[in-house]
Each structure stands twice: as structure tokens, then as C-alpha cells.
Amino acid sequence: MEKETGFVGKAEEFLQMFKKGEEFTKELLKENEKLRYRIAQMEESIQRSADEARIKLYENRIGLLEEDLNSLKKRFRQVEEENKDFASKYIEVEEENNNLANLYVASYQLHSTLDFSEVLRIVLEIIINLIGAEKFAILLIDEKTNELVPVSAEGMAVSEAPKVKIGQGRIGSVAKEGESFFSDDLAGAAELNPLEPIVCIPLKIKEHVIGVISIYKLLTQKEGFTNVDYELFNLLAGHAATAIFSSKLYTQSERKLTTIQSFLDLLKEKPRK
């Protein structure tokens, strides 16, 4: 009996211990769960802060790239503007080059001969082909009569061009003043009026006028004058004048020389007879 009571007591004691152990285990499990939850929270927080840092890094990079992009866009616009500028300058230079070529050819041809009629032909060619005139006349001053006399014409007979006194009418005034005349209406009248040119250019050696170019009609396709046309008019005013004048003098002196030479030959021949 005593033995039995002792056994029961031990069993109860063991049960008590077991219950305490069970409680302790339960507490440990709870604590473990809490710790796991905390770890999970911390891990989440770490992950979040890592993501945030990464996002911030990416944002910084995007910001830098956007800055680069903007600066490249700005540079691109600058280069584009520069290109446009170069392109327009290139066109200008090309145009200038072509104009200079025209002027060079005109000047070269004008001074390529001392034959009066050939110089006149070259002046006609320049006015037809480079300026684009259809009807015009070249008038030179006759020093004896103080009159402008037609010496050559295109698109009209030389006889159709007028003889004009210096200072008389439009053509005479241009010869007197030495200033070019350009009509506002380049189409001109339907019928040819030899005294009313649409353009009249004085042929001048320095300030001395030796004649005029009188234009009455432009080619159908010629709508108006460009800068190079005015340059050509200036060139004609000066270079055509000197070319015409010098070739005229040369032809006259050639003629005189031939006459003198004939006289000399005649004088040389006389004593032999």
C-alpha cells in the first residue's frame, strides 16, 4: 500500500513536470513563431529598402541619361542649324561662282579680239545669251554730229533703231547723264517704239559716254532681272565700252597704216621709174 502510494505520487510529480515541460515547449513555440514573424518582417524591410535603393539608383541613372539625351538633342539641333546654314551658304557660294563664271566669260570674250565687228557680235551674244534680250540695238556717239547712231541690232533691223541727239528723249538722256535706265514695266509696249526702250545702258570709259545699249524686248522666258543681270549690265557699261572703243581705234589705225604703207610703197616705186 505504501509502495502504491509512493508510485502514484511519483506519477503525479512526473505528470506535473510533463505539464510544465509542455507549457514551456508551447511558450518556446510561441516565442519561435514571434521570432520567425519578426525575421520575416525584417527580411521584408531589408528587401524593401534594397528595392528602394535600387530604384533610387535607377532613377539617378535615368536622370543622368535624360540630361545626356537633352544635351545631345540640343547639340543635334545646333548641328542641324549649322548644317542648314552651311547648305544655304553653299548655295550662295555656288550661285556666286556661277555668276562670276558668267562675268569672266563675258569679259574674256569682250577682250579676246580687236576686230570692231567681232566685238559688236560678242556684245550681241552676251545680251542675247546671258541677259536674255530679244530686241535691242547698240548706238554709238558720232563725235562730228553729236548724235547717237545705231551700229548693230538684234531682233530688229539696224535701220529701225533711231538716231538720237545727246540729251534728247530717254536714250539721249542716258547718253548725257551716263546713268542706266530700267523701266518698271519690263514687258514693254506690244508695238516696238525705238525711242522708248525698257532698259538703256550707257557705254562708258570712266565718265566719258561713247554710246548706249537700248533694249526693247526680253525673251519670253525672261521674267525679270536678277543680281547677275545688273552685274552684267555694269560689266557691259565698262568693258564693252573699252572693247568697242579700242577695237574701233585699232581698225581705224589699221586702215590708216594700210593707206600710209601704200603711199610709202608708191613713193619707193617712183625713183625706179
Binding site: 579676246s112 560678242i122 546671258l130 530679244e134 525672261k222
Partner: protein
């Protein structure tokens, strides 16, 4: 090296056109003073393109175009007419005879170079 035959009676225009054509890289200009002279030059060497005026002595540009188109040896050579005749009927007439292009004077050098380059490329 493209050989370009410039047929023009005016020395001023010949020089001006030759000046413009020489700006086309490697191009070589052959000059002729009228249609008959042009046919001689055509028979004596290879020509890749012809630039011809209409109003010329001896043989005019239109007669030259019709002879070039009628000759199997030359008929494929492009011909550009450069003339003072600016009327529409003149242009149509030249094109109907066989000219490839029609450029009225006074010529714009850029336009001339553009046309020559176009027909040389073709």
C-alpha cells in the same frame, strides 16, 4: 569619263557651257560649232551626251537631233537642247523630234548641271 558634246555657234555660250560642264567630276567637253561639225565629232569618238543649240548656221539643232535619232549608232545618246527659243511649241517640237530635255536661255548653271547629271546617270 563622260564625254559631252557642246554644239553651239556662239563662242561665248560654248565657253560658258564648257565652264559649267567641267565642274562635273571627270567630265570631258568636246566643242562643235554647228550640226555638221557635231556629226564629224560624233563619228570620231565616243559621246555620252549632246548639248545643242537650235539656231546655228550650216545645220541647226533640230536637224542634228533628227539625224542622231535616225542613226542606230547614236540614237541612244541623250540630247539636251539649249536655246533662246522659249515658246511652248518650240519645246514640244524639239521633244517630239527626239530631244530628251529643253533648256531655254539664259541658262541657270545649276539647272544645266542637274539635267546633265540626270541623263548621264540614266
Amino acid at each position: 569619263m563622260p564625254n559631252i558634246l557642246v554644239v553651239e555657234d556662239s563662242p561665248t555660250m560654248r565657253q560658258l557651257i564648257s565652264f559649267a560642264i567641267k565642274r562635273i567630276p571627270n567630265s570631258h567637253v568636246i566643242e562643235a560649232t554647228d550640226g555638221v561639225d557635231a556629226l564629224k565629232k560624233l563619228s570620231s569618238g565616243k559621246v555620252d551626251l549632246i548639248l545643242a543649240d537650235i539656231n546655228m548656221p550650216v545645220m541647226d539643232g533640230l536637224k542634228l537631233v533628227s539625224l542622231v535619232r535616225g542613226n542606230p549608232a547614236y540614237k541612244s545618246i541623250p540630247v539636251i537642247i539649249v536655246t533662246t527659243e522659249g515658246a511652248e511649241e518650240d519645246r514640244k517640237r524639239a521633244l517630239s523630234i527626239g530631244a530628251n530635255a529643253y533648256l531655254p536661255k539664259p541658262i541657270q548653271t545649276q539647272e544645266l548641271i542637274r539635267l546633265v547629271n540626270t541623263y548621264l546617270a540614266n
